[in-house]
């Protein structure tokens, strides 16, 4: 069995690159882009199909009127009708059509030791806490960027509310379901695809550049132009955690925390008021700068704390 000590998390446990792509000596950068695109094609098509199927199941037997007097009324009705099916579609398609194909690609193209290739085998609590803390400190800045574009574009409130419906919960049961769909599922599936596979594979030839390339791909993949910059920043941040820690878990924790704050901010009472006021708090410009300074300090701590992982 051919092994490459430089490829391992731990030199004492060498990783076997025994997949078909590796044995043929093909380019790892090409594998990263191709793998992402294949999973992307499967995922987006499957999500649309699964969404429609669950919508049909959901509406079977009872009539749902999607007609409204105005375009906004129609859009609201459509969003409300599609909300439930879309959540199921996201949950099912992320696991079946994003995670499974990624694992298949890793196993067949790269290494039978999938967990080791994806860096699923190293767990450090301080690194996870640090990564989550940095993400919390970056959140106000990302919110600020998002709000900046929304303000410049003059997007009306009612349209923003419609857009937020997918992530809004009105009961504790709905909140728990959203925590699974919006926080846990992407933290596992997207991190394994983007950091575990794409960045990991690009890293082998591009080193640190892989963090930025994967961050941009992560931003583009979400197809939300207004949030592109915030998503790229988050992608780069998660990539940095992955790169420095040689483990996928800090990035997963950071991703989970980021989405968790968004979901908790949109947890509402039945009369449409925020249930947890603290998560809707918008800091001033000075507050954003202060939070970013703390994020910088924590990142530096993270950098030095993970120095022992450097090969």
């Amino acid at each position: 069995m051919t092994v490459n000590p430089a490829e391992t998390q731990n030199p004492r446990e060498p990783l076997a690159l025994d997949g078909s792509w590796e044995r043929a000596g093909r380019s790892s950068a090409a594998a990263a882009f191709l793998g992402f695109l294949i999973v992307g094609v499967v995922y987006f098509h499957a999500q649309a199909i699964i969404g429609v199927i669950f919508f049909l199941i959901d509406t079977a037997g009872h009539h749902i009127s999607l007609h409204g007097k105005t375009f906004i009324e129609q859009l609201t009705r459509m969003t409300m009708a599609m909300k439930g099916p879309m959540r199921i579609a996201v949950f099912v398609s992320q696991f079946l059509c994003m995670l499974l194909p990624t694992l298949w690609i890793v196993k067949h193209w790269h290494s039978t030791n999938v967990a080791s290739y994806l860096r699923l085998n190293r767990f450090s609590v301080p690194e996870i806490i640090l990564a989550a803390s940095v993400t919390i400190c970056v959140l106000p800045f990302n919110d600020y960027i998002g709000d900046f574009f929304i303000e410049r574009l003059k997007i009306p409130d009612f349209l923003s509310r419609i857009n937020e419906q997918l992530f809004t919960s009105y009961s504790s049961e709905e909140l728990i379901w959203l925590l699974v769909v919006v926080c846990l599922t992407p933290a596992i599936c997207e991190e394994i695809l983007f950091r575990g596979y794409v960045q990991r594979t690009l890293e082998r030839t591009l080193g640190m550049k892989s963090i930025f390339i994967t961050g941009v791909i992560f931003g583009l993949y979400h197809m939300r132009p207004i949030n592109l910059l915030s998503l790229v920043i988050l992608g780069v941040l998660f990539g940095f955690f992955f790169y420095r820690s040689r483990s996928i878990f800090p990035g997963m924790a950071a991703h989970f925390v980021n989405n968790l704050f968004a979901v908790l901010a949109l947890y509402k009472t039945p009369d449409d008021r925020p249930a947890l006021e603290v998560f809707t708090y918008k800091p001033t410009a000075a507050g954003v700068i202060a939070a970013m300074c703390i994020a910088g300090i924590l990142l530096t701590v993270y950098y030095f704390y993970t120095k022992e992982n450097e090969e």
Binding site: T2, W21, A30, L34, L153, I155
Partner: protein
């Protein structure tokens, strides 16, 4: 030193395509911008004029009498002609750029590096005429077939309308797979012109011969590539198109906010008129990305099919496999 291209596995085709896109990206981008720059600017102006004139026409039909409608209609025809000319120029530019890019990619595949100027020289050394020729031949054959069907349908209509309807129905059902078959077999004709400097007729025949026997394989790979390309174009062009339509969107959202979502049709039509340039930029980015991807995989597949047709008895199961012990892991 040039290398011998052997038949490839699916993974080899994908890997070579991605590697070649990376290696030739900037040269191909320059070529694409050189050939598409002017047509795209003209298209943007034409699309702007066209969307404005549609809004004018709708407004005039609603409010004015015959003469004004006639004037607007004439002005719209002028805009349409301009739009048509710009589209034609864009098609011609795309064809020339595809030839030049195919030349760059094919040389790179054979381990030679060719400059942009050399690729353009090669394009204008006669290939461009053959390229236009093969395109015209394809159009003529399709148009000819369509004319024959129409004449036959008209003749049948004289005898019986039911017969004509049946004939048209059978033609439609039969023509779709026939056209798909024919177009797939001619898919590599422009690549044959660019890579092997074939004449128009030779390229159609050459492409037909290459695909024969590998139709389903070619269809499957091209289908996969088209899905992948569609995803790339969508995720890359979406923020660019959004950015280019920023002002139009802001105006739209402002009105939406003021009216609570009840925009009157006239305001909406005026808004639509300002979408033209943004849509053109989106179309331009899509055209550019298509040019940077499609010729690359077409050339790789062309070489694969050519290798297969030259060595039919060879086993293609593991042509590029290396002995694992010989893999240089230092480069990974």
């Amino acid at each position: 030193m040039s290398k011998q291209i052997v038949p490839m596995e699916l993974s080899d085709i994908f890997e070579k395509t991605f590697t070649l896109i990376g290696k030739t990206f900037f040269r191909n981008l320059i070529i694409a911008l050189l050939f598409l720059g002017l047509p795209l600017i003209l298209m943007a102006i034409a699309a702007d004029d066209f969307s404005s004139s549609i809004a004018d026409l709708q407004e005039t039909i609603k409010n004015a009498h015959g003469e004004s409608i006639f004037d607007v209609f004439i002005s719209m025809l002028e805009t349409l002609s301009f739009f048509g000319a710009a589209s034609l120029l864009l098609m011609l530019g795309s064809l020339l750029a595809e030839i030049a890019i195919s030349v760059v990619v094919s040389e790179e595949l054979m381990s030679y590096s060719i400059s942009v100027t050399d690729a353009i020289d090669e394009t204008f050394s006669g290939r461009w005429l053959h390229g236009i020729g093969q395109a015209l031949l394809k159009i003529a054959i399709v148009a000819g077939a369509a004319i024959i069907v129409i004449i036959a349908a008209v003749m049948l209509a004289v005898v019986s309308k039911l017969l004509m309807v049946l004939f048209v129905l059978i033609c439609c059902i039969g023509l779709v797979p026939l056209m798909l078959n024919v177009f797939l077999k001619w898919y590599f004709s422009l690549t044959a012109v660019a890579v092997d400097d074939m004449t128009a007729v030779e390229s159609l025949r050459g492409s037909w011969d290459l695909v024969t026997g590998y139709w389903w394989r070619t269809f499957g790979i091209l289908f996969l590539f088209s899905l992948i390309m569609q995803l790339v174009i969508t995720i890359v062009s979406l923020p660019i198109t959004f950015g280019s339509m920023w002002d139009a969107y802001r105006e739209y959202f402002t009105i939406l906010g003021k009216t609570g979502g009840k925009i009157d049709p006239v305001t909406m039509k005026n808004l639509e008129a300002s979408f033209g340039p943004g849509i053109s930029i989106g179309t331009g980015v899509s055209a550019l990305l298509t040019l940077l991807i499609a010729p690359v995989y077409t050339v790789v597949m062309y070489f694969d099919l050519r290798a297969r047709s030259q060595a039919p008895a060879q086993s293609y199961s593991t042509p590029a496999l290396q002995d694992p012990s010989s893999i240089d892991f230092d480069r990974m």
